[in-house]
Amino acid sequence: MSKIIKCTILDLSTLLRVTYTGITVNQIRSAHNVRPPRIKYPLWHLQRERAKDDQQLTEDNRAFVKEAVHDKFGMPAVIHGISTYEVRSPLKEDSVERKNVEWHPKLKRTGLIARKLGNYPMWSDNGKSMLATLFQVIDNHVIKYIPPGEFDPPRKPYSCPKHKKELGCLLVGAESADPQYYTKQYCGLFYREGMMPKKILGRFLISPEAALQPGTPLLASHFRPGDFIDIRGKTIDRGFQGVMKRHGFHGLPATHGVTKSHRRGGNIGHGGEKGRVFPGTKMPGHMGNRYRIHKGAEILRINHKYNVIWVKGVASPGETNSIVYLHDTILPLRKHKITPPFPTSKEVEDDQLIDSYKEHMYKFTDPTITFEEEK
């Protein structure tokens, strides 16, 4: 019986092959059916975490895997207040050409990946208090540099035609992690550079002159107190909200015959010729959970021991403990006046220099503020 079945199947397959090779169909489609190609994802857009199954390893084997990881990448350590690994010299020879270029205002430096820690007040030296938001630069390393010719972003901005031609792309990672919890393809991104996989990745468009060697650590001293930065982060997710909360409408009256519409938006359009709702009309909908940039925030203080940056104001997007990206500001009047650390700052072992403050800020180590009597 089984033999018969096998035979028929075999026959069928041979039969099919014959028919398939016999007819050749050349598909010709008309132009209006051609869809634009799908968005091409960047090369680091990969499946990251493995499926969370129990690996069913024995205790010995688990210890062995750990040992092998530590032998290759370094032992766990706390550096700048973050538990990470002692990653040793990643690359021997320079893969990125280093030119000694002087900084000038048209050059674009890299940015940093930071975590928002919350906020607390600081005082200026005339006794005025201001709220400052804290950001910690979390174990940032350069992963990869893609020069301008090769870098082909998936979505090209229409307004920026020189995008591809002039700017290179620097891939920066934050927070080292144990590679056994990540997929092989994701670990492959870091393997050639001898880095551990990073939990968070960020892409920064930079001038080729500001290119950095993969494996270079990025520190909070990349910025200086008094600089202005742009902070890009994901705003707090508030869910589906009405117009009063989402757009700050005033709502309708509480009394005077108003029923069931005290928090509604009211009219949304005209009649007659313009009898439709205009695009962009403010209406209820999902609020928050989108990327927003807080531009031109001033740095008040930097702690070099923990890599923490204090920024004036509490308007930066995101919840406490969320990830933000810090850039040099694009606001023309607040750009660097004097040369910043270019392409980035060097790691300096200095136990004395823990905090650096902006001018005219009250340092907590200073004595009480007293005012001079005018004459």
């Binding site: 009250y362 009480t368 005012f371």
Partner: protein, 301 residues
């Protein structure tokens, strides 16, 4: 480490009678277990070095602002640590004494607008709010028959001096009802002398019952369940309504309490870190005080 302990030891020997400022109030609260341990029988020097590590169990009443905001979404251990470091740095320059709501304080602060660039305000502490560097107090006094209140941030660098003129507690954690009370309840002399409370005595509790002026008030005090208020003399309907709005089940809501407090284990960690630092500050301050020749300050104008 060895050097450090040696240094501390020298300080301890040199200033044997120096006691932690907080140790006075130690006795009025139940002592921590470690304090009562029978180790006291061991030789004197060892006991002393052991003793400095003991964190008084009532630290949370003396330094409530060192406990972080319990709201979980806002917590971050590094931020809390940096904030504590800054607070201790500030405390090195200004002595923030132990006080409670109901104590009478005098705050001297630098002021740009004043002719001699400093002002002093005496008043009863009616509110103590905020944690970390935002901690603030509100002082109230009646000057020339007008009730006056000033809010001070405890860690504001313009504050020169905080004196406790009378250390006592009241029955409530907030005395905002003094705003609706007759003036004599919150009138204090500006040139009041500081009252001395011998070391080791418990903080006295002032059990004055405040008689409010007739309504209207700034809040519906009959609904607030205040212990320090005398009979409010209201109509029956007010009490009835207050009873309707009361939430007696809230005291059984175990998780609500839990979300409002910092657990004991975390508190111990925080105060162990803070108290050792503050102790050093205290020792330094006493040392400086001895060096100075005591001159009685004379008030100008």
């Amino acid at each position: 480490m060895l050097l450090r302990s040696l240094k501390l030891h020298i300080i301890q020997c040199g200033f044997a009678p120096v006691v932690l400022q907080v140790s006075r109030t130690c006795s009025n609260m139940p002592l921590s277990d470690t304090h009562q341990s029978p180790d006291n029988a061991v030789s004197g020097k060892q006991v002393k070095s052991e003793r400095k590590l003991v964190v008084p169990s009532n630290s949370r009443f003396i330094y409530p602002e060192f406990l972080p905001d319990p709201k979980m979404e806002w917590r971050n251990s590094l931020r809390e640590k940096l904030e504590r470091l800054d607070m201790i740095q500030r405390r090195k320059h200004i002595d923030i004494p132990e006080f409670y709501v109901g104590s009478i304080l005098a705050v001297t602060s630098s002021n740009q607008h004043a002719p001699n660039k400093a002002t002093r305000f005496v008043g009863i502490c009616i509110q103590r709010l905020g944690c970390g560097l935002r901690a603030n107090i509100t002082l109230r006094n009646v000057i020339k028959h007008v009730g006056t209140e000033i809010k001070y941030q405890l860690y504001d660098p313009t504050i020169q001096k905080i004196e406790v003129l009378r250390l006592e507690k009241r029955l409530d954690d907030e005395l905002l009802y003094l705003r609706d009370a007759p003036n004599e309840y919150s009138t204090f002399d500006e040139n009041m002398e500081a009252e001395y409370l011998p070391e080791g005595t418990p903080v006295p509790v002032n059990t004055t019952l405040v008689k409010l002026k007739p309504r209207p008030w700034r809040a519906r005090w009959e609904r607030k369940n205040m212990k320090g208020l005398a009979d409010l003399e209201l109509e029956e309907r007010f009490y009835k309504r207050a009873e309707e709005l009361a939430t007696p089940w809230e005291k059984y809501d175990l998780m609500k309490q839990y979300r409002r407090t910092i657990p004991e284990e975390e508190q111990k960690e925080i105060f162990a870190e803070v108290c050792s630092e503050l102790h050093e500050v205290e020792v330094m301050r006493k040392k400086l005080k001895r060096k100075k020749v005591f001159v009685k300050p004379t008030r100008s104008s």
